[in-house]
């Protein structure tokens, strides 16, 4: 990305002009949520101003318009992920709801006592707890893939965990703490050799690296809109048609039915079978707008630029004495987790905040991972397409000041 492109991008995100405690905001908490470009914000207002009517049922003009926009958004998401069919995209509230949907519906259809689900130690709680709940409900076992010292999955152990009882592998595409980009294609091909489907948690991936669900051959791929410059409360589940058709609905209600009587209710076809209640058509259309924005810039360009930021930040962090980077995988996304000496992450985060720099501290909703590393948490800087090397310079200077104060 050229300097000029970067300047343009920054002007398109109104929140970047904010000041906090009279300091220019430096937002390095993109792993938690990303900021929104003006086009996404405008699309939400425009939707309510010009396109608001409940979809799929109305005979009137506005309803038709909203329905078309929602369905166009579905097509856009399908193309963005490289799905074979638009019906393979289910809108959800986000990654968490999408995983819960599969944990429930897949569990109902295919899991019985004694079966096993495989996750990894680096999963976000959202890709652990729904499976634990399934395990409890159906008396299954949860198996966990460990990591090596660099924060990469141990694929040999992974292979040894798979057996005839394994029903599904659920794995993060990118770790929200370590930044590790997992070898998803390898994991999927290993699993598929034993006919085990794979769910990929793409929450930390979609905004940062190219995703193609058909190339990687994922059975399920899930992500959240708000982590890819879109609105909160909307996300998507991609599922291969052959799987989704075999799964029972997750929630019952409007939209997901074909016919209802007190004797017998039949369910709608894909994708509507999984979209009970009024869909968030304002959210879906704004999400599509965010994806268009990404496509305009090119995800490869964004990935290359963020990789530069990652390398620069990693290099500059090494200037600080006793700094310890948590997660040194060869394939890494723009996330830097670190610790400095014995200083508590909370202290660093609080002081950086007062200097206008937003980072995340703590266990990042991945307690099992943090426990396995025998630490109490980390400070995490996670970058987005609008961050700059100049911001990293300010961040490093602030960090040096903070360390002096706390030492």
């Amino acid at each position: 990305m050229t300097d000029l492109q970067l300047q343009n991008i920054r002007t398109e995100f109104p929140i970047l002009k904010e000041t906090v405690y009279k300091k220019d905001l430096i937002y390095f908490d993109n792993g938690a949520t990303t900021q929104k470009p003006q086009c996404v914000i405008d699309r939400i207002s425009w939707g309510y101003e010009h396109m608001n009517a409940n979809i799929h049922r109305g005979v009137h003009y506005l309803s038709q318009m909203a329905t078309e926009a929602h369905e166009d958004a579905r097509t856009y998401v399908a193309n963005f992920l490289g799905a074979a069919k638009r019906e393979e995209i289910i809108f959800t509230r986000g990654t968490t709801e999408a995983i819960n949907l599969i944990a429930f519906s897949f569990g109902e259809a295919f899991c019985n006592e004694g079966d096993e689900i495989v996750v990894s130690v680096m999963e976000h709680h959202s890709n652990i707890v729904p499976w634990q709940m399934l395990c409890e409900r159906k008396k299954l076992k949860l198996k966990v893939i460990p990591i090596n010292d660099n924060g990469e999955l141990d694929l040999e152990v992974f292979k040894s965990l798979l057996n005839e009882n394994t029903k599904l592998v659920a794995i993060a595409h990118v770790s929200n703490v370590l930044g590790t980009i997992n070898p998803i294609s390898d994991i999927i091909s290993i699993s598929h050799k034993q006919n085990i489907p794979v769910l990929v948690d793409g929450a930390q991936a979609v905004a940062h690296i190219k995703v193609d669900v058909q190339t990687m051959d994922a059975d399920f791929y899930v992500f959240s809109g708000h982590k890819i410059y879109g609105p909160t409360g909307i996300g998507a589940l991609y599922g291969k048609e052959k799987w989704l058709n075999q799964l029972p609905p997750y929630q019952g209600g409007g939209e997901m039915i074909a016919t209802v009587s007190f004797e017998n209710t039949t369910y709608n076809e894909l994708p509507y079978k999984f979209e009970a209640g009024t869909p968030d058509y304002i959210g879906s259309t704004a999400l599509a707008e965010a994806l268009k924005y990404i496509d305009k810039l090119g995800i490869e360009n964004i990935a290359n630029y963020e990789h530069e930021l990652l390398a620069y930040c990693t290099e500059r962090l090494s200037e600080i004495e006793d700094v310890r980077i948590i997660g040194n995988a060869k394939e890494k996304s723009a996330v830097v987790s670190f610790l400095i000496g014995q200083i508590h992450p909370y202290d660093i985060g609080m002081l950086l905040d007062k200097l206008g720099i937003a980072v995340r501290t703590g266990h990042h909703c991945a307690q099992p991972l943090i426990d396995s590393l025998c630490i109490s948490g980390t400070v995490r800087a996670s970058f987005g397409m609008y961050n700059t090397k100049a911001e990293i310079d300010i961040f490093i200077a602030a960090l040096k000041k903070v360390v002096t104060m706390l030492s």
Partner: protein
Amino acid sequence: MTINDLQDEIIEEFSMFDDWMDKYALLIDLGNTLEPLDTQYKAPQNIIEGCQSRVWLHAELIDGNVVYYGESDAVLVKGIVSLLIKVLSNHTPDEIINTDLFFIEQIGLREHLSPTRSNGLLAMVKQMKMFALAYKAKA
């Protein structure tokens, strides 16, 4: 001194600083000089678990007054723990139960006590009052 006198004293001390970093430097200083909690009290039953940092709290009743001891793994939190102990320690259970901790808001540290901050401090204030209530019930 009454609890309110002590609160006023802290407010005055913090009012000398306009800059956030100076206020935090004072808090760090308070944290670093807080007497470490006796290891026997750094036990699981004394932990107040927060999402971000941990706080240990222990209380004793000495001559009718509650005396608090506490610690945290984060130094800023320890600084606030030190302030809470300074304000509440050595007062009767009744005085503690009925107190309004206005100094936290006034010195601009309210954010540390917001439920979303989850650093264990809000729970600590509750626990301090619980100790006082328990001693009152025993009396």
